[in-house]
Subunit: 340 residues, 4 copies
């Protein structure tokens, strides 16, 4: 259960806007609902922007009533739709957007998205002074300044469901499987899915693969009587990493099968954890705005919700702690002689 701060009410607000941006993540709808409900409780109108920054540029906003967010808590995707928006990279466009928002009497903007989306949010406020609060929404959990992001827990569980099924087949056929999970710049999904799925090896994007060492370890597993193996591979910036690996393993005499989980990891009903996280973040965003704060992202650190300056979010880099892969290796280790 998150620890939260009691915040003094410093400003009056009548009207704010809200958007989701970047890759969609399960729980975005729960965050939207929480923003709208918490704002409504304070007498604040919320305008929903359609298709992320694209809708901001195109001035595509609609007033959201509480009934408009009924029955969405448990839905994947985002009812506001999302997009990646090239024009918003232009400062002139951002200036125009701020003017449009002010003209409508809108006093602040909440942005739910990942790294790129939060960069856009930061620039908007830096350049135009328009108040922005960001919420971390991405399945990759690669946002600096927060331990967790909306959608990560669900993506892990979805990938695990696939892994559990693949293991049935791997065991039935004594086969070697390479399973590619999402996470271009970040090994969080790979590490969690690998540990929780009992993968024999985990290959995060941060780490180069020594194919000779991997082959040697697989061979020693086989000698020890273990013929089915599951390797979790994080996708990399360049597509095709897993196929390349499979080709190299084939050249060494293995017969690996490749499964690329891809976009199936994005959707689906959010887990309870992601619904809680998203609900808390959404409701607290309204409280931080009323406390006069902006230019921040609300993050989670050690189970406490707290504000992080957008500039530090955008410039930091979040690395997978070293002990995680050690733990994974430990849980798979079979070599030491027992009771020796």
């Amino acid at each position: 259960m998150y620890a939260i701060e009691t915040l003094p009410r410093q400003v009056k607000l009548k009207r704010i806007a809200l958007l989701t941006s970047g890759g969609d993540a399960p729980g975005m709808n729960a965050a939207i609902r929480a923003c709208v409900r918490a704002a409504h409780a304070e007498g604040i109108q919320v305008y929903g922007v359609r298709r992320g920054y694209s809708g901001l540029v195109a001035d595509d906003l609609r007033l959201m009533s509480p009934p408009s967010v009924a029955n969405i808590l448990q839905r994947g995707g985002t009812i506001l739709k999302s997009d990646r928006c090239e024009p918003f990279r232009d400062p002139a466009v951002r200036a125009q957007v701020a003017a449009q928002l002010r003209e409508k009497g809108i006093e602040a903007l909440i942005v739910i998205g990942g790294d790129g989306s939060l960069t856009g949010a930061m620039l908007l406020q830096q350049e135009t002074g328009f108040p922005v609060i960001g919420l971390p929404g991405t399945i990759d959990n690669d946002v600096f300044g927060t331990d967790d992001t909306i959608g990560f827990d669900t993506a892990v569980d979805t990938a695990l469901g696939a892994i559990d099924r693949i293991r049935d087949t791997a065991n039935s056929h004594d086969r070697l499987f390479l399973v590619e999970v999402m996470g271009r710049a970040s090994g969080y999904i790979a590490a969690y899915v690998g540990i929780a799925g009992g993968a024999e090896f985990i290959l995060p994007p941060e780490q180069a693969v020594d194919i000779d060492q991997l082959s040697a370890q697989l061979r020693s597993s086989q000698k020890a009587g273990k013929f089915s193996s599951l390797i979790v591979v994080a996708e990399s910036q360049q597509p095709g990493r897993t196929q390349d690996l499979a080709a190299q393993l084939s050249a060494q005499g293995f017969e690996p099968r490749v499964c690329i989980l891809g976009h199936t990891q994005r959707g689906g009903a959010p887990t309870g954890h992601d619904r809680m996280l998203a609900s808390y973040l959404g409701a607290m965003a309204i409280r931080y705005l009323l406390a006069g704060q902006s230019n921040i992202m609300l993050g989670v650190q050690h189970d406490k919700l707290l504000p992080v300056p957008l500039s530090s979010v955008v410039h930091g880099h979040k690395a997978l702690p070293a002990h995680v892969l050690e733990m994974a290796a430990l849980l798979q280790k079979r070599s030491a002689p027992p009771g020796g």
Copy 2:
């Protein structure tokens, strides 16, 4: 609920063998359990063969007690493991296998698998006279002589789970998705998943794709305001069909995303339907053996379990009825003017 025949008891049996062969399918364990339990109720010993025909060749058989099949009804995969076995294509090997079985006092063999596995079963009996009964076990539902196969229903539901999740993302981003499902020689999975998943188009393996027509239809959908689309593509004999299609659609100006569901469709807990089918088939196999029948596969036709000569199973070809794709098209049609 399946209709079944009452069968006279014609022969006495003391000992039979049982194997799973080819690609594993959810429900194989339920069939194994039913064979063992129904045999046990008749005082017949069942020897489980490990790794399909490979284990038959290697004489890798173990006596299965009823407790050995406890708690497997709901598990995906096959506890007997499965394999594709090259040596068994050799008549000399089959003759040797029959001799080995007879030497152990084994009087009949039950084979759970797909087309190829049932061909092996037929040849074994034809050439050596050793009694064999086949049960259709494959997710592809491409076995002639039966409307249904063990694992098909589960594979459809698993693929649908993925499709439902992909649709969340497709809707959030107004995107076009190509989703590849299993079924090399057969469009059953594609047709069911396409209809039940509300796909805009279904491309079974039986049918060449007219890319210009597909593009025109996608464009007219977009003009009508429908930007997200989901196309279900059956894998084909040559891998890469879906990527080729994606490349062709990209050349026409679309931005398709590709998802290949692959082996995630194989495993997982079987559905109630597959558990029922597998349990009935397994139990009835024992009854047909006791009625003196063999050289047959037990199939389902219009909800009735019945014996089909293995030779007709092996030489027939099961085609997707034409009306299925018509129905799919009808359920997506949006063009006719209403109330005109």
Copy 3:
């Protein structure tokens, strides 16, 4: 895959109405979608009636466009809402309803529901001549004239999910569980769930329970080393059957735990099977109307969709075939000595 008939087009239709009635069942939305889409393809307007016969009485109808049924195929419940409607039992009310429909230019009515709902439909047509087609929609699968009903397959799979989880606990604690499933007048859910869930005993509503015999069997299981047992009990007309049983077993020295699955069996995303069935039934209802047929329910018999006179549906009684419980007993039998 259902066999269907090719039907001649005999009548022209401009406008029809559609309602869901009685307990909701997963797949009702898929049937609604199919009716609307298939009607639209023929240029027929569909008016959706809200809350079943209550909405018909209250004249609460709305024109349904194809977009109004987008993205509902995979949703449980019914977007038209459902109800049990006392006033509709009055012939005068039915006469008024027929007049109201005719005044709006509505030429036929499609009713999706169970036994009671189809009785209302039959009476409406018998008394007023207003054309009606019924579709069997109920999780209980207790409608005469059809092997299957919309929602049954999903309810079985949902109950199985619960059973599989309860078994984890039963096994961990060597416990006896009584699990009550739905099905007041019909043992279909109990029989399917019991067989597919590997229940040690199945108690359908049709059958009185001999508590001494049950106790004796449980005791002999325990002597054979089997301490965890799962008994599937169908709810009965009078609530409390399962608690009564538990009390009787406690009096015999057992410590049974009770789980009542209740309404959790009703909702949820429909299985692929139910989506197919509902889609076919919905689309074929339009074709049968255009062929000039009414006063029928569309049912499934041996995998063929076919029309059944409403009067025979309403007056028949659907019983669980005897061999089903025999099969269940066979699959649990552990007593015969093997290889004897």
Copy 4:
């Protein structure tokens, strides 16, 4: 991702024992696997005790090899089985147990369970000096000294799955549902499930229910056009709380339906979160033992794994923070006029 401490190796260990006790919880198997694997990596033998303290008393222990924990990570329940053991409440029995363990050369005991089980563990060490480490394993999350327990996250997600299905029916029929979740002494499950399930009201066990106020709020919801409502009720020490509430609401003119989720919340494959938590706790238990620590429970506080003296675990009381129910109320509030 949990923060963990680097621990100095202070003692040598050859042989330890491991048991699960109390109500089973998903993830217990993952913890067992982690203990066995991490111990094996250090050359320590692990003896598994069957049926909790009962097996300790009965001297029912077996050596667990790493293969014995293969493929259990994803399984609900506990392969070691669990029990509540009356005799272990007797100090003489505990003294005898310690003697038995020492005789076998066993040097420490790991206990996975809830409050009661950890009390037994504490007494064992206090009275006999036999080193014990506890791991919190219970779906109720009611163990003092830790923010989280093995099984809680899974139980919440399982209950949510049921709630999401019930909501389909509630919406289809405009009905009021009382859904009882587990948690006798603790409102954690109720609070999480209520917030994440969008319940209109949450009734934790800590709080008496003012039926007049509840009725008034329900009535005002209905006046505002909201007819379907879902109330999450925590079971209480005395069974029947939810039925009593239903009776009281019926007396006030409502027609509530009751669903008791019961033991369906216990089993099932653990979530990724619970597999991670259990794996970390299991592996770290070995490290703490090697660091010479005992008489502790390993808990999680603010995402950090740390040791908590068993006596403080046993004597503390864990209360639901007040802000949680405030947050729940906020997310449901519909009354304030927007933009006023």
